[in-house]
Symmetry: C2
Subunit: 303 residues, 2 copies
Amino acid sequence: MKFEVTILGSSSATPVYNRNPTAQLLNCNEKVYLIDCGEGIQQQMIRYGYKTSKIDYIFISHLHGDHYFGLIGLLSSMHLNGRIKPVQLFAPAPLLEILELQFKHSDTILRYPLEFTPVYADENRLIYENADVSVETIVLNHRIPCTGYKFTEKKRLRKLLVEKLEADGVPVSYYPLLKRGVDLDLPDGKVILNADYTIDSNAPKSYCYCSDTLADDSYLEPLRNCTMLYHEATFLQEMLDRANQTFHSTALQAAEVAVRVGAGKLLIGHFSSRYKTLQPLLDEAAAVFPNTELALEGITFEI
Amino acid sequence: MKFEVTILGSSSATPVYNRNPTAQLLNCNEKVYLIDCGEGIQQQMIRYGYKTSKIDYIFISHLHGDHYFGLIGLLSSMHLNGRIKPVQLFAPAPLLEILELQFKHSDTILRYPLEFTPVYADENRLIYENADVSVETIVLNHRIPCTGYKFTEKKRLRKLLVEKLEADGVPVSYYPLLKRGVDLDLPDGKVILNADYTIDSNAPKSYCYCSDTLADDSYLEPLRNCTMLYHEATFLQEMLDRANQTFHSTALQAAEVAVRVGAGKLLIGHFSSRYKTLQPLLDEAAAVFPNTELALEGITFEI
C-alpha cells in the first residue's frame, strides 16, 4: 500500500522567493490528504504535477496564515472547476466562519459538500478513520491553539505462506479468510489453522506531523515509535531565545524529540526566511539524529 | 512626474501555471498604489523586484477571490516585517470584517494603522486625493458589487519660458509664483504678466482600471479621453454568450469601449485559463483599437 508524503511548502511566514509556506500531500493507498495549506498551493500543485481534484481530505493545524491562507483559493477553484465530490475539512472551529464569510461576499454557493469537522487543541483525539488509515490530533504548544496530526495505517492483513498452502492443496478460495486470521473448520472435520499458513504482516506505519510548536514534553506520547516524524525547525539552536519567544523549535530540538520518541526518520521544515541556505539546519539536526532530511519542496518521502 | 503601471497578475480565477490573478502596481510620483491583490502577490513582487514596504495605498475592486485572496497574506507580512507606516485600504465594506476575523483568530494585532475606507458600488465618487493624484470610483456591472478606479494626475504647474525670463532679468525668486499662474505687481509699478513668461503644462494624464464587467453603456462616462484604459477581456468574441452569463467582456468589446471613450491606449487582461496563448485576444482587440497591448506580468507601462 502506498504511504508517502510530498512537500509543497516548508517555509515559515515571511515570504522568500521560491520558498512557499507550509503544505504537504499525504498519499495513503491512492487517497490524498492535504496537510496545511499555505498561500500559493495551487501554483505549487501545478508545478509538481498534482491534481487538486484528487484531494478529498484537508487537515489544518492552526490559524496562522502561513498554514491556511491558500485554502480559500483552493476551495474556490475546486468549485469553479465543477467539483461535486465532497471535501472533508478538519480544522479549528473559527475557520468555517472565515470561509463562509468569504463565500457569502463573493456570492459563492459551493457545488460540492464541504464537510467540516472542528478540531480542538485540548486533548489528543481520534478524529477520522477509514479502511486505510486513522487520524489522531497531537496537541502542540504554540501561541494559538494548534494541533499536529498522526496518520496511522490500518493493521494490514496477514501474509500467506503460499508455497505451503499450494503443497497442502488448500483451495485459493480460502485465502481471503486466512489473510484475516481466521481458522477454518471444514465439513469433513479437518481444521486449517491460520497460524500454520500465515505470518504476521509488517507493523502499521505512522506519520506524525508537528507543524508549529515550542519543543517541550507535552506532545511526545503520540509520537512514540512513529515511522516518520515531521517536526518544525524554524531556527538554529543559536536562536533558542527567539524560538522560545515565538513558540517555535530549533533544529537541535527537533532532533532531540526524534531521539526521545524513537522515530524511524525525521523531516525538518518551517524554515525561517533568514536562512538563505538550509544546510546548517540539517547539519545541526543530523548530528543528533542522523536519519534526518530537509522537507524540501517537490520531494516525495516514502513513509 | 512618474506615472506608470506594472502588471503583477492578469489571469482570471482558475489558476494556470505561471499566470497569476489580478494585481497591479501604480507608481505616481514615487508613491505606490496597489490595485487589486490576487493570491501570490508577494511572490510576484519578489520576482519582479518590488518592495511591499513601498505600498501605502491599496484599492480592491470587488470581493471575488481572484482580486483579493493575496491581501490577508500581504497585510500579515507587512506586520511581521515590522511595518509601522499606515496603509490606506479602499475596498467593499465587508472586506474589513473578513480581515478582522482572520487577524482575531491568528491573534494578530497589527503594528501599523490599517486605515479603511469602504467603497460602495452605487455611484461614481471621488474617494481619495493628494498632491499628486485624485482617485474616483467607476461603478461597473458585475455579478457582485464592483468598482473600477480612475487615477487622474493633479493639474501640473505652468511651464516657465526660462530664456525670456533670463533675457528680461526676472529674478529667479519670482519663478515659483509664475509657475502657479500668478501675475506680479512690483513696488516700482512694473507688472510681470504670467502669460508673457509661462505656457500651459501638458494636460493631466489619467489611468482607468476596469477589473471585471459586462461591457455596457453604464460606466463609459468617467472613461472619456483617459490616457490609458485597462479593461478586462476574459474571452474571445466567439464566447460572447459565456461572457454575458458571467458578467465579463470579450476582447472585441474591450476595444469597442476604448474606441467609444476615445482612450489613448488600451491594456487588456483578466484572461481566461482556457487561452494557452494570448495572441488571439490581442489580435481581436487590436483590429478595432490598434493601440492595444496585453497586460503581461512583469511589464511596466508608462501612462
